[in-house]
């Protein structure tokens, strides 16, 4: 899967689940602020990504991810 494919997949997925416009999801935007995530909804993000990409993310890893750009990189490294 290319980076572009990961990006468009993630954006569509998150826009739907967290009910935001896809246009607000940019590589430099902060994930938690943009999606208004709290400690409870962060776990939804993990479940969604794990399920979609067939990976297993642990809490410590996802906590280090700040922006959407970092999230795409993270997923790419996991499925590589």
């Amino acid at each position: 899967m290319t980076k572009a494919e990961i990006t468009s997949k993630v954006n569509a997925l998150l826009a739907e689940e967290f009910e935001v416009e896809e246009s607000v999801i940019t590589p430099d935007a902060n994930i938690k602020k943009t999606l208004e995530l709290d400690s409870l909804s962060l776990v939804d993000l993990v479940a969604l990504i794990d399920n979609e990409f067939g990976i297993k993310t642990n809490g410590a890893e996802i906590s280090k991810v700040g922006t959407f750009g970092e999230l795409y990189d993270f997923i790419e490294s996991k499925i590589a």
């Binding site: 400690s39 776990v43 794990d50 993310t57």
Partner: protein
């Protein structure tokens, strides 16, 4: 398998709100518990275990799973941590259990971030599914 008083090693809840009486065991991501509905259950009314009792039973199954994990990670002597329901989604209750019936609940942990665990639960009486839900459990450090 843990039963009766041994359950207190796994969950922080105490009488009159203990809603599991058996814990069949846990794997890396799953847990299974049981409860026989007694007439003096605090959530029983008119011979039925009400919704609150069913949901609390599910929540305590998740708590017991966490209790087992906690012992594996921090030693057999570790006390169960206090935990709370953070969120419940898509909770369907098909029917209420009657006094004398035995519930079994299977939970699967689907994701965990810090002290929040997301779990899928299915509750059965025999082979009949009577409830299912998605639940987030929040655990204190």
């Amino acid at each position: 398998m843990q039963q009766g008083e041994e359950i207190k090693q796994l969950i922080p809840q105490r009488e009159p709100i203990m809603m599991i009486d058996t814990f069949y065991g846990a794997t890396e991501t799953t847990g299974k518990s049981g409860l026989t509905v007694l007439a003096d259950n605090v959530f029983c009314e008119g011979g039925q275990l009400r919704e609150m009792g069913v949901i609390e039973h599910i929540a305590q199954t998740c708590a017991a799973y966490n209790g087992v994990k906690n012992k594996q990670n921090n030693g057999e002597a570790s006390k169960p941590k206090l935990g709370y329901i953070g969120e419940i989604k898509k909770c369907q209750i098909v029917r209420l259990p009657r006094v004398g019936e035995q519930l079994t609940t299977d939970v699967v942990a689907t994701a965990q971030v810090m002290n929040v665990t997301l779990m899928e639960a299915t509750t059965k009486i025999g082979d009949e599914t009577i409830a299912s839900c998605q639940i987030k459990l929040f655990e204190e450090d």
